[in-house]
Symmetry: C2
Subunit: 195 residues, 2 copies
DNA sequence: GACATCCGCGTACGATCGTGCGATTCTGTC
DNA sequence: GACAGAATCGCACGATCGTACGCGGATGTC
């Protein structure tokens, strides 16, 4: 990997971590340069605009999420195991404070009221995630784990809600029961969709 | 009402609206002064620090939410009507883009990683909201609408999740089905808790 | 009408913001 | 070891940030 690319990757990694704390909008070239111990202009040259930097951080967050949650889930056996894998990995992502995983949610509420490229990208990403969950649910029908008349999109919506609730109670309220509650909700959801 | 107080109130109102778009952290004395057509220093004098301004906006948002959602719900008859009233009003708050109502959620994810007075206040407010829902659910037991062995705190957690999911799909994805989905989830939740 | 209190303004401060540019240093190729 | 290109730096810019202070005008009290 060329030196430039290497540096850029490292910057984006740091950007994700910082954004995980202060939000994508709270990112700052100066602060980022300080953390990476390089000059503002040197860092800036890799992106040529702040928005490009934010988009790069968002893209990295998405990749992390796909690697840690989506892909492992999709390689689990169809049906209940796959659904469980998806849930457990997603949950772990929030529990363990994996920056990339959570940045999604954070940025989503941050930019839902501000038009622009970031909002568009976020909307696209979340739509993709929704579609993936829907698909995972549907694939459960073919192996007989999920009722054929179950509403897969509704399931996706509900699962999303459970995770959002978990993130809030875990990260803001630091409620030790958060994980158990999320798990309980998930089981109820699954039970309702089961054959 | 004294002139100063009047001005201050108007500023806080505007602050809530702006923060609803760009987040509490995105608030800016200069931008606020522009919107209210007064000088930065004149505006600043009412708060004496940016954090105080943010806290004032948050307090106003809370009051709005209590006035529009909590209080009307609590004055509905115990049990299912009260639970429904709470849900419907909360839903309407997000659907109609009532700035105060939604600022809660936005700020919660914004500051969950940044220690300080704002985070503390937000945690307190959300805890209070949780407690209120729990109480509303419990009071449904006494009139026989809710199963005595229903887990009220779990219900609060789940209801919260439904609303968070709704906010996301409505505000970011602009999904026209968002409201129906939220209503469907709510009915399922209620059905599970019913006697 | 004198006076005290309050309110908002003008101006200024040091810091930091995002961005641009020319100079410098590093890296890899012949 | 000369050279080309990439990577980074130093410096500067105009704008804006949060905050401070003192002054003028409005307001209300005696």
């Amino acid at each position: 990997m060329a030196k430039g690319t290497q540096t850029r990757e490292a910057i984006v990694d740091t950007a994700v971590e910082v954004a995980f704390r202060v939000g994508l909008g709270g990112l700052t070239i100066g602060e980022l340069a300080r953390q990476r111990q390089m000059s503002k202009s040197g860092l800036f040259a890799h992106f040529r605009s702040k928005e490009a930097l934010q988009l790069a951080a968002l893209a990295r967050a998405r990749e992390t999420f796909v690697d840690l949650v989506i892909r492992p889930a999709l390689s689990a056996p169809r049906g209940e195991p796959r659904i469980r894998e998806l849930f457990e990995r997603w949950l772990a992502c929030g529990r363990d404070g994996v920056a990339g995983g959570c940045l999604f949610v954070k940025a989503a509420t941050e930019f839902d009221g501000q038009p622009g490229a970031l909002r568009e990208q976020l909307a696209q990403d979340h739509q993709d995630l929704f579609d993936t969950i829907t698909q995972v649910c549907r694939s459960g029908v073919s192996v007989g784990h999920v009722r054929p008349d179950a509403d897969a999109e509704q399931f996706a919506h509900d699962l999303y809600g459970v995770l959002l609730g978990f993130y809030l109670t875990h990260r803001l309220l630091a409620d030790p029961a958060a994980e158990d509650r999320a798990r309980f909700s998930f089981e109820a959801l699954l039970a309702a969709a089961r054959t």
